[in-house]
Symmetry: C2
Subunit: 484 residues, 2 copies
């Protein structure tokens, strides 16, 4: 229930609260039956008087959005039909509630931007771990040599030089043989998923994802009107052995997988499973989307070859983001073959006419420099130290808590006893100034609510330690509370 | 019919040609009944032997894609059902042709990237007209002060500082009162259109556009499965007087308009029409998308107030790109109100998690500097001189050619006698090394094929003069050929 009120607006705060809640209900962002925050809690959260909240709730009840049950709380109604407010002209912007939309309003973004001091929720690398001065110099040099890169458009497919550099990089780092012509430069791998979804997924299609998986991918496929089929993940990644009957039954448009240091579990897809997955795709003419955000960050040996390196007939679309090479640049690369690639390039053109050229030049210089391998090595070491530190700390958790110690990547996946709901735990943790990603965010259906993910790379070491300590207390309380 | 063959690929060139043409036919990018290039022309264009093309055409005919008629040429077949090649494993990537997709493969991109020396087809400002050294210094200073802007993510809605600067800029330049909370930073206004389409337009919906209009907008709305209703444009812009019955009949999800220096005609929507348009939107609960790419580039006085400045109930979504302020940054801004804005912010998060921070910082510094107003003034002067130069040149065209002298913006819209087809003219012009946008690109249906658009700001002055001279010859030949 996070939103900001606009105190400069002419619209009274009551109306703003009304509209925000009505909007979330109409878009299914708040499901029917959901318990809304108490008047006291919401007024605290939004920093408004309780009277303001009471009035907003009263109006929402009058218009059929919610029901207040004495002593039980305020609940969202089952909607029979879209309630449209009575007098649009007295309520500014109220007519907008009648505007149909096609996005599930990104459930993901509910969690994506947390403002807690100890924010362990986002999978990012701390800016302090980047060679910022070096990058700064690269940019200055690039601008000195070619100051027009700021006032020029690049090719829609991406700057040729960067594609050449990426082809070399992918070959060297991931044994992936691609030609620059097979690559498309994107705004981060997030845009890569979007381009794939927009090109190949439509209403009524089925899409297979891992359970749990990256929340934004779920939202993106859903926003295309697709139905999501979940396939469980174990220690060796996607349960490929379960795929055959599911693919047979649903004929999914694509299978979305994160084979290396799976998000959120950290699992690595074993090599035999990689081969089997590809065989299934070939047998059934299915697309595979291989999302590979941070395979360079390994602590206990390099992960197996990417699926894409085994792909003869163009079934795999490979995505790599810029997380470890200047995330602020928002540069990603997509590798695909044949006519699928040309369709993705067309989609990219429609989306934004191409990625900013300056950013491409910067990443190109960085990837092509000798510095990149030392940077990656340093990053590995720095993050391994953090991982080990957290592993030590987590040993002290009660036995009922299970921790997957990651062999690479940026996250820990922690499993609490089944009766502990981590959505509630997050609420408690935020009071202490700590945030994490609750397990529920990672499932398309039937969420397992007793997991949580923490990222050990996003904040500085002190805040990390401090955050984990505080989270400890909260977890311990919850586990004990369960016993009582 | 523009594409590149991959000479490094293991796929034989014949198969590549086969797949590229089959793919375009399957996606309706080449319509049934279209005459394909002759074997000789295609072999010249692709730089392959005639035998290679003959073989590809033979295979396409065998698989039911095309028919070759002796002495008449090669035509695309009406498709009864999707032909799927017989033996996928002998033809690499051939299985991909059976993959359904949801994009019309961006007809726009057919024209968007021309490689002719005198490229007058794209509406861009020549990089030489930007204060590149100044921008370079801004970037260096920013990085010195805050080198982490390259390794940090920004807010999904956009950097707060940039939103503040934009709010001031929009107020000063366009009398548009917005608060930073009402703004969303996008990757160019192209992404703005995309976000709106993805949020509010779906299969079977109607969307109203001007005829002619910006080709990529047509493609974007179509890629959402919408039906496009065209409303003609005259000297005072969109024929608002025709709207009422159309809106009544089709209940469009939105009306897309470019009120200032309309693309491609250059028309300016009169103030009374702006008011009337807004009244219609209010009466009918319709969204208006106001695309305003270059209203700062006026030669004969400032255009009327934006629609958005008259918008009380949040019917207008205002889009502004970064064309005149460092197009390589690909920064745009979207102004909207109420719940529509929150839905657009969610869509932005899903698309790319936010615009690169460095680029936002650069545009922020630039817009906030005193230099921006001198830059804009200089740009106006430089482009006015070019416009006048071209106006003089165009006076020498035969009387049957009509030219709209633009009062702002970047383009000329030229009308030839109805029997001259500018698609064919483009083919002739390209032989001389000149390209332009043919009229057909700007219509969703029933294209008027005797117009063309040239941009007078994208190349340097010498190439512009040279290009227009060469185009002259081609146009004169076509007009005379018509008489003979």
């Amino acid at each position: 229930m996070k939103w900001e009120l606009n105190r400069l607006s002419e619209i009274p705060l009551t109306k703003q609260i009304y509209q925000a809640i009505a909007d979330k209900i109409l878009s299914n962002l708040i499901a029917a039956g959901t318990l809304l925050p108490s008047v006291r809690n919401l007024s605290k959260e939004l920093k408004v008087s309780t009277d303001t909240v009471i009035q907003a709730y009263r109006d929402l009840e009058k218009d059929g959005f919610i029901t207040r049950l004495q002593g039980k709380g305020t609940f969202v109604n089952q909607r029979e039909q879209k309630p449209v407010p009575k007098s649009p002209n007295t309520l500014p912007y109220a007519w907008q509630l009648s505007v149909q939309d096609y996005l599930p309003r990104a459930y993901f973004s509910n969690h994506a931007q947390s403002h807690e001091k100890n924010n362990l929720s986002i999978s990012r690398i701390n800016p302090g771990l980047f060679p910022n001065r070096f990058i700064e110099k690269l940019i200055s040099d690039e601008l000195l040599q070619n100051s027009k890169s700021i006032s020029t458009y690049g090719e829609i497919q991406g700057d040729k030089e960067l594609r050449e550099v990426f082809a070399r990089y992918l070959k060297k780092e991931h044994k992936l043989k691609t030609s620059p012509q097979d690559l498309l430069i994107t705004c981060g791998s997030q845009q890569g998923i979007e381009l794939v979804a927009k090109s190949f997924v439509g209403p009524g299609d089925f899409v297979m994802v891992e359970a749990p998986t990256y929340p934004a991918a779920i939202d993106i496929f859903r926003s295309r009107g697709a139905s999501i089929i979940q396939v469980p993940v174990d220690q060796q990644g996607l349960r490929v052995d379960l795929l055959d009957p599911l693919v047979e039954k649903y004929k999914p448009r694509l299978i979305y997988t994160i084979p290396n240091f799976q998000n959120p579990t950290g699992a690595v897809l074993s090599f035999p499973r990689r081969q089997e997955l590809l065989h299934i795709a070939q047998r059934t003419n299915t697309l595979i989307v291989e999302d590979d955000p941070w395979s360079e960050i390994y602590f206990d040996g390099c992960p197996p070859l990417p699926l894409k390196s085994l792909d003869t007939y163009g079934h795999v679309i490979y995505l790599k983001g810029s997380k470890i090479i200047g995330p602020g640049c928002r540069i990603g690369v997509l590798a695909a073959n044949g006519t699928l690639l040309s369709r993705l390039i067309a989609a990219k053109g429609l989306s934004d006419l191409g990625t900013p050229l300056l950013n491409q030049k910067v990443v190109s210089l960085l990837l092509d420099s000798k510095r990149i391998s030392t940077h990656t090595e340093k990053l590995r070491t720095a993050l391994e130290i953090r991982r080990d530190m957290i592993t030590e700390m987590l040993k002290k958790l009660p036995d009922v808590v299970t921790v997957n110690v990651p062999t690479g990547g940026l996250n820990y996946w922690i499993t609490l006893p089944a009766c502990v709901n981590t959505d509630n735990l997050l609420y408690e943790a935020k009071k202490e100034g700590v945030s994490f990603m609750p397990g529920s965010a990672f499932y398309a259906h039937a969420p397992e609510c007793h997991h949580l993910r923490i990222c050990f790379s996003s904040v500085d070491e002190y805040s990390l330690q401090d955050g984990v300590h505080k989270l400890f207390k909260v977890m311990n309380r919850a586990v004990k509370g369960r016993k009582e």
